[in-house]
């Protein structure tokens, strides 16, 4: 038995290409784990039962990743989920160190995509919005924003491009300043006021606070001033308050 396991171990290490057992898909990456042992769970979450443990140096195949969990399979066909954090020290069969990607807001060098939902008050109307942002540097991000507001007297949609500057990205609660431009489409509720839809160019300035409550999840609060350049006699100012969250993807 021991002899058999030794030969399989040496066989797998000695040959440059590891032999894939039949149940392993061809595109799965084989790795050896340099940790005393690693728990294997039946599902991708801390609540699922642990049914197996990987030994030091054991070869496993990485099948897929969901959130912070990786599905692995062993030579003997034990298939389950392990934490990405437990796979910090993994090596290819050739001894090359490998890394599994984990997005982290604390890694200020990483340029990441951020997706967020917001809920707010747009001059008395309830508003909801989606933001798609890209962080160029720790301080500077760009953002595409779409909001729909539904009010008693009028509904509006806004589409904007904005630049966000975070002067202190390392602070626990980090402030940011925003400058942007876009269009506001306002449609008065026909039953009350009989006017046409208006489309105005808007200038956007804003201030907000962001705080991370998980590795990839931030809450944000924001107040923004929409300055509408209307074709009427006076330009119009709208103050918008927003609460929402951002996710690092």
């Amino acid at each position: 038995m021991l002899l058999l396991s030794l030969t399989t171990l040496f066989g797998s290490v000695a040959s440059a290409g590891v032999q894939f057992p039949q149940h392993v898909p061809e595109d799965a990456e084989p790795v050896s784990v340099d940790a005393p042992y690693v728990n294997v769970y039946t599902g991708p979450g801390r609540g699922y039962p642990i049914f197996h443990a990987l030994e030091r140096g054991e070869i496993v195949w990485l099948l897929k990743q969901r959130t912070d969990w990786v599905k692995v399979t062993t030579r003997r066909g034990h298939t389950g989920w392990v934490r990405v954090a437990d796979l910090a020290d993994i090596f290819s069969p050739e001894g090359e160190p490998l890394r599994i990607d984990r997005v982290d807001f604390r890694d200020h060098r990483s340029q990441t995509l951020q997706l967020g939902f917001t809920y707010g008050d747009f001059a008395g109307a309830d508003s909801m919005g989606v933001n798609l942002g890209y962080r160029f540097t720790a301080n500077l991000s760009g953002e595409l924003r779409a909001t729909q507001a539904v009010g008693q007297f009028s509904d509006s949609q806004t589409y904007q491009v904005a630049v966000l500057h975070q002067p202190f990205p390392r602070w626990r609660v980090s402030p940011y300043f925003m400058l942007g431009t876009g269009i506001n489409i306002t449609s008065p509720n026909a039953t009350i006021v009989a006017t046409e839809d208006r489309q105005d160019t808007a200038m956007l300035t804003g201030f907000g606070l962001k705080t991370f409550i998980a590795r990839r999840f931030a809450l944000r609060a924001e107040v923004a001033n929409h300055y509408l350049l209307t074709s009427r006699e006076n330009n119009q100012e709208i103050i918008e308050w927003k609460l929402g969250f951002d996710v690092f993807m």
Binding site: L62, L63, R66, A125, M128, A214
Partner: protein, 213 residues
């Protein structure tokens, strides 16, 4: 005088500090145990992520005063971590005849086109109770129970209605990439079709099938 003393101190200190350095150079193991300063190239493991979940659902939705009607739609979710996911959902249903229209015998309040209701929402959900469901002796299916809530828009009768939604759902995974979902939601919005503004609670119960990718 004082400067001279200081010079001696400094010289003595320099000798003392230098001593360990010399000792290290003379160390017979120096050649063997040398710090490995070679830069390590770390490659990213070739692994597929499956954080998105695309689902379709069908069920029954009750719109207050307008009866219960079939509802169907779809949703796209992104799993943030094992506890949270965010979801964009879309659905449509039809409004039936209100009791006011039936009893008064007057002309219908809404045209057929106005009775079609579309809604969409942005929600955040919390996987509260992960676990397993057991089916006979043989199968243990991964599952979780989640609480979900969000904001959105419901449009019918040529009007948009800002809608809050909250509810609870159960997810059962026959395979890692496939899940069966059961959802019960309350869609809360205000409308003034009957003359005065009223807040309505509109419940939907739906069964869905989703695929992770």
């Amino acid at each position: 005088m004082e400067t001279g003393l200081r010079c001696i101190y400094v010289a003595a200190l320099a000798v003392l500090l230098a001593a360990p350095v010399n000792a290290q150079e003379d160390d017979p193991l120096g050649g063997l145990v040398s710090p490995d300063l070679e830069r390590r190239e770390i490659r990213e493991a070739d692994i597929d992520t499956e954080d998105f979940e695309l689902s379709t659902f069908g069920g029954v939705m009750n719109v207050e005063d307008f009866g219960s009607n079939p509802v169907y739609g779809g949703a796209l979710a992104y799993h943030i971590n094992e506890d949270l996911f965010m979801e964009v959902g879309y659905g449509q249903t039809e409004l039936g005849e209100s009791s006011f229209e039936r009893l008064s015998g007057s002309a219908p309040l809404l045209t057929d086109e106005q009775r079609e209701m579309q809604f969409y929402n942005l929600s955040l959900a919390w996987n509260l109770f992960p676990g397993e469901y057991f089916l006979f002796d043989r199968w243990a299916l991964n599952s979780n129970l989640y609480l979900i809530g969000g904001v959105g828009n419901s449009s019918f009768a040529d009007e948009d209605h800002f809608t809050y939604n909250f509810g609870v759902g159960a997810r059962i995974l026959p395979a890692d990439w496939l899940s069966l979902r059961l959802d019960v939601r309350d869609h809360v919005f205000e409308h003034e079709l009957f003359g005065e503004l009223q807040t309505t609670h509109n419940l939907s119960a739906q069964v869905g099938l989703s695929v992770y990718f």
